[in-house]
């Protein structure tokens, strides 16, 4: 913390600077100080970091939304760890997250590599593919809830395939709906990641492979896939973080039902806190989510090389 804190106007001495140009880029007055970052940092600390600390504190307190929270020790933790719905919600969250990764990864790789071609028809089709990205999670869920309506939706017209047409009445089909809607909504995003990455693969690799007589599918498995390795990692981690925090889809499509068969952790936290007014238990569940997301994000930072950015930055002077 030895550097300047203010952006004091440099004592304008252009003549002096011209005399010693080799030093000018390190002249103190020409770099912004920490004060430039202060407003954003304070704002972020107040509205994102402080709540994060508070969630940990509140998980040891009892609060019903009115009055002041009371300290109750580990009571909330004991209750949620003893709650079969909570334990079940963890398994459901993991199941849905895993389903998301397993379904969306191959699909978005294939679509992304396909969309990376520069043919005109691909560009036009891609424009349609990306429309689901523009809709809010709320709109997507409301749309699919309407399309899959047990009485007026598509399944009700296709009873030969869907039985009684009520996909929300059983755990297996309800989970299927949630996995399908997430796939519909998020595959375009991951497709975009792979499209960008596939376009960055040097064409010379393909030319060399073609000369060696490798066909399209061998090229895909021996050049494209290995070259996409980093994107696969980034995309998977985003899927995992997104899956752990899925909320709107469940709230709107299944309300956690039938019974508590699709009550995943983020939804259960909302239920506990804002429907049951048990904000202490809600905070404890939230803290579990934070820990899970942080572990995954630390992996992101490690794997994607974000933490090496600082050293790149130092090259800029």
């Amino acid at each position: 913390m030895t550097t300047q804190l203010t952006s004091a106007p440099p004592t304008a001495a252009p003549g002096k600077a011209r005399r010693r140009p080799e030093d000018s880029h390190t002249a103190r007055g020409t770099r912004p100080g920490f004060l430039w970052a202060l407003p954003a940092t304070l704002f972020f600390a107040l509205f994102a970091l402080a709540p994060l600390v508070m969630v940990a504190v509140l998980s040891f307190m009892s609060w019903n939304g009115l009055g002041s929270p009371q300290f109750v020790g580990t009571d909330n933790w004991e209750r949620i760890l003893d709650d079969p719905v909570m334990i079940n919600s963890i398994w459901l969250t993991l199941l849905l997250t895993a389903l998301g990764v397993v379904i969306q990864t191959p699909l978005s790789i294939v679509l992304g590599v396909w969309a990376a071609g520069h043919q005109r028809n691909r560009a036009v089709l891609s424009a349609v593919y990306f429309v689901p990205l523009l809709l809010s999670a709320t709109a997507v869920s409301v749309l699919w809830r309407a399309l899959l309506d047990p009485n007026f939706g598509i399944p009700a017209r296709m009873t030969w395939l869907f039985g009684d047409g009520n996909l929300f009445g059983e755990q297996a089909t309800a989970i299927g709906v949630l996995a399908f809607v997430s796939t519909w909504q998020f595959t375009p995003f991951h497709t975009l990641i792979y499209q960008g990455a596939a376009r960055a693969i040097p064409p010379v690799l393909y030319q060399a492979a073609a000369i060696d007589g490798a066909g399209r599918y061998r090229q895909f498995f021996h050049i494209t896939l290995p070259q996409l390795r980093n994107s696969v990692i980034t995309s998977m981690i985003l899927m995992i973080v997104g899956g752990l925090t899925t909320f709107e889809t469940v709230l709107i499509l299944t309300q956690g039902g039938p019974g508590t068969d699709t009550t995943i952790s983020a939804y259960y936290m909302y239920q506990k806190a804002f429907k049951g007014f048990d904000f202490g238990a809600g905070s404890a569940i939230a803290l579990c989510l934070v820990v899970a997301a942080t572990v995954v994000s630390l992996i992101v930072v490690r794997v994607s090389g974000y933490d090496k950015m600082r050293s790149d930055m130092e090259g800029v002077s």
């Binding site: 880029h25 407003p39 809010s136 017209r157 995003f189 909320f247």
Partner: protein, 272 residues
Amino acid sequence: MRHRPNYLAGAGSIVWLVLVGLPLYVMLAATLRTRQDYAKHGPVSFPRDFTLDNYTAAFDSGFGRYFLNTIVVTLCVVGVVLLLVPPLAYAIVRSRSRVTSQVFRLFLLGLAIPAQAVIVPMFYLISEAGLYDNLLGVILPTAAFCLPMSALILSGAMRDISPELFEAMTMDGASPRRMFFQLVVPLSRGGLSTIVVFSALQAWNGFLFPLVLTQSDSTKVITLGLYNFQTEHGVDIPGLLGAVTLSMVPVLLVYLFARRALVQGLMGMGGK
């Protein structure tokens, strides 16, 4: 190089087109027909009984107000982001201070904080501040959660500015302030438009903060209006889909006219 047509990929792309296109078609078709027509002929059929009532019904049930609220929230969130992030990114890229590099790390970790995780304390904070059921109470946390990604995007754009330009301005005796306004801001317009689109999308599509931090009809945003409409008139599917369609119109317009900035803004979204 000769190209053979890739039939497998072609077939796959058509399947995906149907999966994406069919629901969108059903949605648009449903909004243009009466409820009776929809119930009788089914979702996939072509509308026979054309009407625009579904759109007017959406407006009658308060969507005009919700639109207005969403526009206010979106503009304010974008305003806050534009006020806070450019100086932050400038400091991240140009400052030699150790504190600033720690700040950058903090924001990178902040990328991973899910909004779901902080809604309980956020509810407490906003209530204590007397901002419950107030649009300002939605704007502040929404803007805060846009900061990490915006900082990352904009500092990336600012890093592309050639160091020689900074050196030249230093030789002219320019202050950091002058460099910021005359060099950094004009040369990072691409990054600026990306963070504008990114934060506008976050605000426009935001659901969780409004759900938890507002209550009355006068502070409802569109997403919340959709959710409400669904719980109250769940069986009026054409009406419901009319409301969904209206909620996407502004985003679709941006998609048509500023596709590049939008796609970049979306990429910043991290699959949320």
